[in-house]
Amino acid sequence: MPYDLQVHAEALRTGAAALAEDAARIAATAAQVPPPVPVPRWSAAEAAGSVADGVRYELGAIAGALWDTAGRIRAAGDDYEHSDDRAARRLADAGQARGATSARLATADAAWGVLP
């Protein structure tokens, strides 16, 4: 796996918001799907209506998928930040632990006359 991880969490949130807007626009485009010619009722009119239904369905599905993707990207940005926070805390804790250990060792060393 290539070690190419790079994250700007704010860019993810901005991108997610843009995708959500895309999803809304696509959903709105479904309203522009032309209605069939109503009369006189040729067979082609009914078939055209079926295509229109399919296109509206598909546009709705795409909008839904994008909305879902936007949410996941937003969540990924949050996850990255939480992971960073957790890692920072662990490292900070580790630093404090190292400090305490050093103090204990210094005391022990002093007891054994190691330290000046």
């Binding site: 790079q6 704010e10 295509v51 795409i62 990207i73």
Partner: protein
């Protein structure tokens, strides 16, 4: 008399209205569409009622609305592109790649819907065109019936409204109306019972109803298939396509092995490949080329912005030509335009069909000449369209499609136009395109006519100089010579030519070998010499014998004396009428 309507007369046929069938046609009653109308599924009465109440323009508008919907969907797809790029700027890694793949998948779904939009538009627009032709036939039937005192009643049957007014022994009473039916004024006569010979009111009525029913059946079938395909994802084909340069017939055979989902996937994934590929049906090529059209416009805008001087002027002219093309592609007037090729290199190459050539009964390929390019395509397309419109009025039962074929490097005005090299290159591409028309055609083979204007006639001549050009007729208009000295050396069943008396091509493009004689004559006869030398058509032109000279052996047809070099397509004038006649295979009535 009933039989007078729409019968092809020996002369003056234009005034007699539309014609049902041509010399090469199936017997009267044959359907123009590929799908036989199911007469049982839709009764004559129902079809008549619907046709009478139909406004074809409403279907044209519906088609245009679907076409227009592809625009905002393209913008949405571009939005997704932009968002993906911005995301990639701030995010990389495995999760970022997964997100990008997901966005690409949704973008592809949007592009597939755009393809659906164009294909619905194609089906509806062709339906509208067929309904308009059916209405023209119905109007002709009504007029023919009226002339013999008959009417078409609400059930789509011919009623002899005043049978007693029809003189005994007339053709209408004696031969066209079934025996035993004509005598009773109140008797209802089914239209189908009338004479089936072309030209009768009954036959016109039959043709109108059959045209409408067949068009409805075909449109419904196409739309039902699209409804099923729309909610299925495109899928990549299992194998690679045909090798580069494969004959169009091989391309078509490969295309036929693909499922609809695979074809749609290819259009979206490989539009640059599918768009110009001869042998692929025009409906798919059109969608592929429309997909790349926006990118081409952006690229041209960038080139214009970066250019200076003469290059900038040339590119701006190309941009204006592209704008005109885009306008025509979106127009709801006339037959639907199919974009079969677009290349911005050089002066630009473009191939546009008006009306689906794969479903038309007659296809005219118009090859323009010197100075042609993307910048001038609108002018040339108008010429092609006028022939098709005239042909469709002539034979409304049979669709004529016209193609502007500008897929060669047409010479600029100047020394370039004196050579044959560009014509030779164009001839090879033209032969391939014509092969593609044959290979991609759906149903019975159409009549193919190839028309070359000016230098384009040399391209057509070069294409026909070898056996195997897929054309039933070649036509030379305003030709500077076609590369051979006799029609007998051209491999085409019909060879036609016209040159207007006022076309300077026959005076200016003289062959070198005739020039010394002309100069000598000019000097030998004071006063009249120059007129005699240069004031009459030359037999030998720059690229060979004048094809409009009787000695060449072509069918020479008259054009209006004042046409000049570019006025052959003036509406209502003899040249345009003759071109329409030739396109539909009706050349035997052209005045010579």
């Amino acid at each position: 008399m009933i039989a007078e309507a729409a019968v092809r007369p020996a002369t003056g046929h234009r005034s007699e209205g539309p014609r049902l069938a041509g010399p090469r046609d199936e017997p009267a009653g044959g359907l123009p569409g590929r799908r036989e109308a199911n007469a049982d599924a839709m009764s004559r009465e129902v079809v008549y009622g619907r046709l009478r109440a139909t406004d074809p323009a409403r279907w044209s508008t519906a088609g245009a609305s679907w076409r227009a919907l592809a625009g905002p969907l393209g913008q949405r797809a571009a939005d997704l592109d932009g968002d993906g790029i911005r995301l990639a700027d701030g995010w990389s890694g495995a999760a970022a790649r997964a997100a990008a793949a997901g966005l690409a998948a949704q973008r592809r779904r949007l592009q597939l819907i755009r393809v659906t939009c164009w294909q619905v538009d194609q089906a509806l627009s062709e339906f509208a065109s067929a309904l308009a032709r059916a209405r023209a036939l119905l109007d002709a039937a009504t007029a023919a019936a009226r002339r013999v005192g008959a009417v078409i009643d609400d059930r789509g049957t011919l009623r002899v409204a005043a049978a007693l007014d029809i003189a005994p022994g007339t053709a209408g009473a004696a031969s066209d109306i079934a025996p035993g039916t004509a005598g009773a004024a109140s008797e209802i006569v089914r239209g189908a019972a009338l004479g089936a010979a072309p030209g009768t009111a009954g036959a016109l009525l039959d043709a109108a109803l059959r045209t409408a029913a067949a068009a409805d059946a075909e449109a419904a079938a196409r739309l039902e298939a699209l409804a099923a395909a729309t909610v299925r994802p495109g899928t990549p084909p299992p194998t690679a396509g045909p090798p580069c340069g494969a004959p169009p017939a091989d391309v078509r055979r490969w295309w036929d092995t693909l499922t609809p989902a695979q074809r749609r996937w290819l259009v979206v994934a490989e539009p640059e490949v599918v768009g110009p590929l001869d042998g692929v049906p025009a409906a798919y090529r059109d969608a592929a080329n429309r997909l790349v059209l926006d990118d081409r416009r952006v690229a041209l805008d960038r080139a214009v912005a970066a250019a200076t001087g003469a290059t900038a002027r040339r590119l701006r002219a190309q941009r204006a030509g592209l704008d005109a093309l885009v306008d025509r592609l979106g127009s709801r007037d006339g037959q639907r335009a199919y974009l079969l090729r677009l290349d911005l290199a050089g002066d630009g190459r473009v191939v546009v069909a008006l009306g689906d050539p794969d479903r038309a009964r007659h296809v005219l390929t118009h090859v323009p000449g010197m100075g042609s390019g993307l910048a001038t395509q609108a002018h040339e397309l108008t010429h092609a369209e006028r022939v098709a419109d005239s042909a469709n009025r002539l034979t409304p039962g049979e669709q004529t499609s016209a193609v502007l074929w500008l897929d060669y490097d047409a010479p600029d005005v100047g020394p370039e136009a004196a050579g044959r090299g560009l014509a030779a290159g164009g001839a090879a591409a033209l032969r391939r395109f014509q092969d593609g028309l044959r290979a991609a055609h759906d149903g019975p083979q159409p009549r193919l006519t190839v028309l070359g204007h000016s230098y384009g006639s040399l391209v057509v001549g070069a294409a026909a100089a070898r056996p195997g050009l897929a054309a039933d007729a070649v036509v030379f208009v305003g030709s500077p010579g076609v590369g051979v000295d006799s029609a007998a050396r051209l491999h085409a069943p019909e060879v036609w030519s016209t040159t207007s008396l006022s076309d300077p091509i026959q005076y200016a493009a003289v062959a070198l070998k005739s020039l010394p004689g002309d100069i000598a004559l000019s000097a030998a006869v004071p006063g009249l010499g120059p007129l005699l030398a240069f004031g009459r058509p030359e037999r030998d032109l720059w690229f060979g014998r004048n094809p409009s000279d009787p000695a060449f052996g072509a069918h020479v047809f008259a054009s209006q004396p004042g046409a000049g070099h570019t006025g052959y397509w003036e509406p209502g004038r003899p040249a345009l009428e003759a071109l329409a006649d030739i396109a539909v295979g009706w050349g035997d009535v052209i005045p010579r």
